[in-house]
């Protein structure tokens, strides 16, 4: 039996962690071989993904239970990009310790874990029944627990991991409960069957299932009030893990919701809309409020990412095609801007504590880095012509297709709040004078390269039409 080529990247992604980790057996701890393999492997997968022709419609099926539709393809790209960036970002932490944190070891296993998480995300978007769906979610989550506790010496890390896994298990319990009721309602695990059942008619069982599912995933997507773990975990976990967490796990979670809302639950989207709108509004408001007076960088990013989650939820109110377009595009933009910010923080964090005051005098000390920071912040704040604005514009546009103007008005007004705290960060980098003399920051070639790459991406990704086209054209069919 011949393997269809659109499945190859997934298979590679599945084998990839084993190869990387296995390579450790054949070379000593210091060697760079696993790192090289990892780079080649991920880039190869990314290339292959880009070669998959867009099919439109229902997508293609692999042994009838593994769907690769266009949304899936793009989600794969997002996840792989996030994994690659996370890997590049983490490299420095394995070479020398960050300020105030012990040095990290076992990069091969680290990358393997990231790869597993990525594969989990891929599983979620390719699932056609709830078992696969649930497994994907778990595969995506469990490595994250491990990653959070990667620094066995680090007290905060282990505490964060404990909090994370305890709450995560509860959330898993919620989801399972939800799935069980969904199963009970539809009498089947297959999405199409559920879809038909839902279309046929609703019952309290269904709504309880929906409630539990949303609460469960609300934990992973850091919706209100399930976000409480995020600030602590973001702060406690090693910085590269925080970066991966803020992109990959969010991407997985939102993909989960998209598949759910536009898959089996599509017939009742209108009834769910109020819940989505509420979650979106409250979450972005609370996230913005929480970020207002932060002075620790990663905790700040945690709240900002909570707010971003709220913005993403707005898109779920729209029609399928528009929402998927918006979310994919936004995730790309969000990943790029977020990683840009994290790269800058990482460079700072290698010399000083990761707080706002460490950024003082950055514009004098290393202007290009300060510009990169400003770009990423303004992009996250959604200021045109940076990519972040167009991302948010997509989300709101998708939300507006069903006429939720008030929610959008609320969301854009919150943008002002967001702009305020992003400006706080820009201020400390651009305006505040350093207390004493700062030793100049030394950037490795990889860091400089990545920062330039990401900055350019953030600047042009938005308004250059051909870039946006090749991402969206696939959905014109949906």
């Amino acid at each position: 039996m011949s393997i269809p080529n659109f499945i190859i990247p997934d298979l590679l992604l599945l084998l990839f962690p084993f190869i990387v980790i296995g390579s450790r057996l054949f070379c000593d701890a210091k060697s760079n071989v696993p790192w090289r393999i990892a780079n080649i492997g991920f880039l190869l997968i990314f290339m292959l993904l880009n070669f998959i022709p867009l099919a439109g419609g229902e997508g293609r099926f692999f042994i009838c239970n593994w769907r690769v539709d266009d949304f899936g393809v793009f989600m794969r790209e997002v996840l792989v990009v996030s994994a690659i960036l996370g890997m590049w970002f983490s490299k420095d932490y394995f070479m020398h310790a960050a300020a105030g944190k012990p040095q990290m070891h076992q990069i091969a296993e680290f990358i393997g874990a990231i790869a597993f998480a990525t594969f989990g995300g891929v599983t979620v978007v390719s699932a056609c029944d709830t078992i696969t769906f649930f497994l994907g979610l778990e595969i995506a989550t469990i490595p994250m627990y491990a990653l959070t506790a990667w620094n066995k010496q680090d007290q905060l890390g282990s505490e964060a991991a404990t909090k994370y896994i305890l709450m995560g298990s509860v959330a898993t319990a919620f989801e399972l409960f939800g799935f069980s009721y969904l199963y009970g309602f539809a009498g089947s695990l297959h999405f199409d069957a559920i879809h038909n059942a839902v279309a046929a008619g609703t019952s309290p069982l269904l709504w309880i299932a929906v409630l539990f599912l949303f609460c469960g995933i609300g934990f992973k997507l850091t919706l209100f009030p399930f976000y409480t773990w995020a600030p602590d975990v973001y702060e406690g976990a090693p910085t590269p893990v925080t970066a991966v967490l803020s992109v990959t796990s969010k991407a997985t979670a939102i993909a989960f919701l998209v598949v759910l809302v536009y898959g089996p639950l599509a017939p009742v989207q209108e009834q769910i809309a109020p819940l989505i709108a509420l979650l979106a509004g409250v979450t972005l408001f609370v996230g913005n409020l929480g970020a207002l007076k932060q002075y620790r960088l990663r905790r700040f990013m945690a709240y900002s990412s909570i707010a971003q989650a709220g913005y993403i939820m707005v898109a779920l109110l729209g029609t399928a095609a528009m929402a998927k377009t918006a979310i994919i595009y936004y995730l790309f933009v969000y990943a790029v801007s977020n990683y840009l910010a994290f790269f800058v923080f990482g460079i700072i964090g290698h010399h000083r504590e990761e707080i706002f005051d460490s950024l003082r005098g950055l514009s004098k000390q290393n202007p290009s880095l300060a510009i990169a920071l400003a770009i990423s912040m303004f992009s996250l704040a959604g200021i045109p012509p940076l990519a972040g604005f167009f991302g948010k514009f997509h989300l709101f546009f998708s939300g507006a297709t069903t006429g939720h103007y008030m929610l959008i008005a609320f969301a854009v007004l919150n943008n002002v709040l967001a702009l305020f705290y992003y400006l706080q960060l820009v201020k400390s980098a651009w305006v505040d004078e350093p207390d004493g003399h700062l030793n100049p920051l030394r950037l490795t070639r990889r860091q400089r390269g990545v920062i330039i790459l990401l900055s350019c991406a953030v600047v042009v990704l938005g308004f250059l039409p051909f870039l946006s086209d090749n991402i969206f054209v696939g959905f014109s069919g949906l």
């Binding site: 202007p367 012509p385 604005f389 546009f397 103007y405 959008i408 305020f420 400006l423």
Partner: protein, 499 residues
Amino acid sequence: METVLFNLIWVIPLLTVLACIPIPATCERALRTVHTASVSFVLLVVCVLTYRVFALGAAPADPASTPFALRFFTDIPWLNAFNAHYIVGADGLNMLLLALTAFIVWAGVLVSYKIKGNQKVFFALIQLLATSVYGVYMSFDLVLFFVFYEMEALCMYLMIACYGSGRRDYGGKKLTLTLAFGSSMILATLFGLYFESGTGSWSLMEISKVTLPMDFQMWAFPLMFMGFAVSSSLFPFHFWSPDGHSAAPTAVSMLAAGVMMKMGAYGCLRFAMFLMPEAAKIWLPYVVALLIFNVVLGPFIAIRHKDLKYITAYSSISHLGLIFLGLAALTPVGLRGASLQMISHGFLTGLFFATIGMIYERTHTRDITEMGGIMKKMPFLGVGFVIAGFAGLGLPGFSGFIAESTIFIGAFQQDSTLTRIVTVLAILSITTTAVYILQTANRMLHGPMPAKFQTLTDGCFREKLVIVVLVFCLLLIGIFPGPFADMLDLSIAPIFNRF
């Protein structure tokens, strides 16, 4: 060819920024030369095009641009995801505003040769700001317009907070956030316009073809109008401008007060009032009530201030109030007066802030009580300031008088009680304007001079050039208002026809 030139207007600043990236920040001389060259070129281009528009007069324009008669009309598909187009063009109003911008940007670059700090970044930011303003004044697609309109926030904060003076962080935040607040209100309505109009297009001309549902207009118009009015510092959203201006460096004050504050009024006229005329007819009479603060109380507040930039800021607030008086009059004369005031006040306040900046550079204080008699030491700058003052209090011969009298006559034609009252109050408050302007000029330029100012020097050639050019513009409009009025009337007619 002309169309290409026209599109270059906003491209050139960006290209200049890119061109300057390889130049190290240390050789400021080269940077200044490059930027000066680019802005001068843009100025040249804009002047030529403005003349072309004037020469074409009422000649038929591209039919695709009806109901407007847009020159250099360009329409290219841009973001297919939501069908946004790149639609630019210009009629008399746009072209004059573009010319104003070009002049102010040119002057702004010239006055900030001596700015402290990283000049590379500063000039780059000025150019970005220029791009955004040019873009605003030429784009007729809502998305494109908004992208340009919101870009300003990106530059303003950094420019004020890094290169400003006094409470620069506070001022910069206040300004940026308030403007962002306004533009967020606009953004909220844009989606409504797109979906409620049902044309599936962001183009101004397309949307204007359908009549928007009344219930939508009723909430969308005030939202959009106030959103725009925020950046024109209409009461109660004026609080950002005094602090912002006083904190900002000279060039930024010039750009902010000279052209950015006009973007709001322009938006009110071109977008809010044009797209939702029915609601405008209902709402605008109430807007007039807000003007009592701008027009009547603004000058009084200026009287009580000692800081030159605060005084100028409040005078801007009152002058912009007049713009809204003209808009709210809903008569052709009033609209024309409003747009005349936009242009005239741009030059006027540009001159004001330019001279203030130059004086500040020398005296290192903006407190008029600490100054005095500096007319002896710097007659040229002093005369420049006095001329700005006279233009500001609406002296015939300068553009201000033309604009204001047009607004008064136009506003008086509106036969609504509130408008009548406010118009009369506005006419009577030209005295208050005179009071604070003369008081400032006298305190600062005349009387005995403190010993510490003995060493002051008059403006150098560069600064004199700026002053002369701006004064020339003021006089040109003031003495030959005819052509400008005609250009504006042509571009206002399609807007007024909707009422």
